[in-house]
């Protein structure tokens, strides 16, 4: 079976800075892969490359069967990216944001509402503008806006950040559920105890390269 994410010698420049300096990575269907690494290692850039947002300057990248060196746009509708930014209009209310983003992604308004439910966003928050929410509540809304697209590949940058322990459990559950239902999850996290528990496999990225890509046969943790 072919890999969902297939990167070979991938070099990506941010300005003239090589954020990725030759990444080799395979992520297989239905897998939950944890991306570890210090700040500035290139985790966010790697997720951006997989989402088709950041182009490679050299190397190969095939995501969900689409060759990103030829066309970065085709893959975008099929992935869900949860970034550091909220991807939400601060002045619009929670439901207004969800309605807009779900319809923008060719999903229905009902999908958006269902996603809000799934993320446990209380209905008393629905009419509040996003800027008045707490960081954790906003994170849940962002997450809802991501899953309402029903992405085939989840790309999560620090999904646990800013959430309380109930929220973290919820996120872990969503990731496991996504993987069992056929989606693939690639996420970056600093919360190693929690993350390694939910991940099937982990790799470490540092200095723009993957250090220890373990063969996909070995389940769970490889070292440390």
């Amino acid at each position: 079976m072919s890999a969902i994410v297939h990167l070979r010698s991938a070099v990506a420049l941010i300005g003239r800075f090589p954020a990725l300096a030759g990444v080799n990575l395979d992520v297989h269907a239905g897998e939950i892969l944890l991306l570890r690494g210090p700040n500035g290692a290139g985790k966010t850039t790697l997720l951006g490359v997989c989402a088709g947002l950041i182009g490679l300057s050299t190397g190969e990248a095939v995501v969900l069967g689409e060759d990103l060196t030829r066309n970065r746009r085709a893959v975008r509708r099929r992935v869900g990216l949860l970034g550091h930014d909220s991807f939400l209009y601060q002045d619009l209310s929670v439901v207004e944001n969800l309605d807009f983003w779900s319809r923008a992604a060719a999903a229905t308004v009902a999908d958006g509402r269902a996603a809000l439910d799934r993320l446990g966003v209380a209905s008393r928050l629905f009419e509040l503008p996003v800027h008045s929410l707490s960081a954790g509540q906003r994170r849940r809304v962002s997450f809802a806006a991501m899953i309402c697209r029903r992405p085939e590949l989840w790309l999560l940058d620090e999904p646990h950040a800013g959430l309380d322990s109930a929220g973290r459990d919820l996120v872990d559950g969503l990731m496991s559920e996504a993987a069992t239902s056929g989606a693939t999850v690639l996420f970056a996290s600093h919360e190693l105890d929690r993350a390694e528990h939910v991940a099937h496999r982990s790799v470490t990225i540092s200095g723009g390269v993957i250090l220890d890509e373990t063969p996909p046969s070995t389940e769970t943790r490889a070292d440390s």
Binding site: R76, G83, D91, E96
Partner: protein, 228 residues
Amino acid sequence: MSQSGGVLSDALLVARKDLLLERRAKIGIGQVLPFAILVLLLFAFALDPDRGILKLATPGLFWVTVLFSAVLTLQRSFALEAEDGILEALRLSGMSPAGIYLGKVTALTIELLLLEAVLVLGVAVLYDTKFLGIPLLFAIALLATLGIAGAGAVYGALAARLRSRETLLPLLLLPLLAPVLIAATRGCEVSLEREAMSGWPWAALLGIFALVYLTLGSFLFRPLLEDA
């Protein structure tokens, strides 16, 4: 999953979102409109009203005021899209760039037309202008505003992520809109019966500008969204 709804439905979605944002944040009504009225007042101070200069110059002053207000509106409209990773989210959404562009233009046109409507009242009261040729005036306002929004959305999006956007946007946009200013001003002079000549050629000219800018913008918005 259904494919993207096409350019028009994307445009509609974006336009409705922008108008909703204006209704929630009220920057246009609360800040841009008072600014525009202030400019009208300042013109009245600068050009002594007793000597009739103000009356002669009314159409020009009106459109200069609209242009300045348009720059502010554009800056606000695209600053919103550059915050919080919205541009990335728009790229990820799979909406067609031309649809996003036309949606922004539609919302901007509606907002600017409303502003102009209030300004026209202001001009009528402050400068004691008599309006004749209402259909022509309306056509000119609509077509000129489409041109301003059409060209402005391209440069507004281009400048949005630059740190020097406050200075760069007017520098790029105002020379581009010089012909719109000329045609709209002359057209309005006609519709205020200052000139014997019929004003419809000016309206046609404004229509051509709008068409050119809208066509260009629809094509250029993809590279703009992707790489600029």
